[in-house]
Subunit: 297 residues, 2 copies
């Protein structure tokens, strides 16, 4: 394998390839910054970063919202004029304490509603300690999801089931493919349960294009996230994601597929990567805006 590329063009010296699109550029019309990509920034800094760079949307995370206070965060976002493309994240429904998990998810739904996010992303949870009955855990997760559905419907928040790459099946999400997520989502009203299509997690799936079409036909594409699969994986597998263009995933074809399936929402960039987190946030946004033009549009 080739060495891991530098994930941020500026200030690494890597040729930028295309000029950075700026405020008002139609190329940015659907580009959203997921807060996890600039993890060291507060919500206020992330909002400011989006505004300066001309991004029209942001994907929020619970922790930085809580840090600012929900009401204040909602006001900041409304005043900024940014769209909130998604709120991250709920889920973890497979553990032994169902009541606590459900309570926590109801709070996350409330937050999404107050922030004006169309969906709450759910990472459903992995296998509890010592458990090998994967099918049983998956059914239990679906049962707990059912308990959340009326609450989500009442508040107008779509729950976005996120299939995670199978490398996370044991420890983070027993939901591994889009087809499997749709099998569960389709038990419920589309207004209540959709799916998150994250390029990083689904690019390898031989059925991904037919399942994207199925999701779109049912009005269940809650959100689309752009991110690349880079190798080698770091010691913490979770933090091994790459800037689009640095890896092996055909993100453009996936973006085209969600568009053809009728998705008109934002294209959110969510990258967990230590090197990117250490870089300057404004540089990170400039890089992802260029990569958006080069590899996504």
């Amino acid at each position: 394998m080739s060495p891991v590329p530098s994930p941020v063009d500026v200030p690494s010296g890597r040729p930028a390839g295309v000029p950075t699109p700026g405020p008002g550029d139609p190329a940015l019309a659907r580009l959203s910054l997921n807060q996890a990509t600039v993890q060291r920034w507060t919500l206020a800094q992330a909002v400011d970063g989006c505004l300066r760079a001309g991004l029209p949307a942001i994907g929020t995370w619970r922790e930085p919202v809580a840090e600012m206070g929900l009401a204040k965060a909602a006001r900041l976002l409304r005043d900024s004029g940014l769209r909130v493309s998604s709120h991250c994240r709920g889920g973890f429904l497979t553990g032994p304490d169902a009541a606590a998990a459900l309570d926590d998810n109801r709070r996350a739904i409330d937050e999404a509603a107050e922030l004006g996010a169309p969906c709450l992303v759910l990472v459903v949870g992995g296998l509890p300690e010592g458990e090998r009955d994967l099918a049983g855990v998956r059914e239990r997760m679906a049962d707990r999801l059912a308990d959340l559905v009326p609450y989500a419907l009442e508040r107008g928040v779509q729950l976005a089931l996120e299939p995670l790459h199978p490398v996370f099946c044991a420890d983070r999400a027993v939901l591994s493919t889009l087809g499997q997520a749709l099998d569960i989502a389709e038990r419920f009203d589309a207004a209540a349960v959709g799916v998150e299509v994250d390029a990083y997690h689904v690019w390898w799936d031989p059925q991904v294009y037919e399942q994207i079409a199925r999701a779109g036909a049912g009005g269940r594409i809650s959100s689309f996230q752009a991110c690349d699969w880079v190798l080698p994986l770091p010691a913490d597998t979770l933090r091994g994601r790459g800037m689009v263009g640095d890896g092996h995933a055909d993100v453009r074809s996936l973006r085209r597929a969600v568009d053809e399936a009728g998705y008109t929402g934002d294209i959110e960039v969510e990258i967990f990567n230590e090197q990117i987190w250490r870089a300057d946030g404004h540089d990170v946004i400039a890089t992802l805006a260029r990569r958006h033009v080069q590899y996504v549009l």
Copy 2:
């Protein structure tokens, strides 16, 4: 996550759980040692280890066979009375040099025939450098497989397409699920192309049980391998496999499913793991024999 367990019961002091089954024990009737599990051993040592422990079968690898010389290796195996459960491995059909790959695979088929292995395991190869057209690479791989089919049929060796866990999709195998492997295998005579069912690679797949049934109905289960999914993954992802019982995969249910699908072949233990490679080979075999009783039968 809990710390990685010690993968070899003896001599680590971990309670053995059950007595070690010995030569003549019917529990061992289908247990095969894949040579990769005792990587530091020569073929002669591995054969001796199987005979001493009462294992009736061995899965061979090309490199140690070549080291001994093919004719001598074939004679040693015949004289030993061991079955050869599979020969590992061919494949890597996705690179730029098709002719070289096909030549090398024909040699591997010849070896499998001479060793008396019923199948040659194929790891099909990942994405060539800079390539993102996954569907195109998959089709190219299937075309090259087609070129090998007449040769495999003539020599009576079934090509076992091995879907690898999607964590290896970019760098080792664009074949990621059993269903996808069967979609390709079914283009050909079942005597020529089957599938490898490796618990490590398929345990997470929501469709695995229906696909095992489909594979069995078509006479296409070439081989079954037992191995566990343990976390965290090591720096070299390839070497992160665990002894059955140490991880999260429900190997027993998978073994039952292949049996119910009509598979009567050997149950091969193939583990890539530095810790296991450093342990004494006889201890490794004793552990896997016990784990076979505890977690597989």
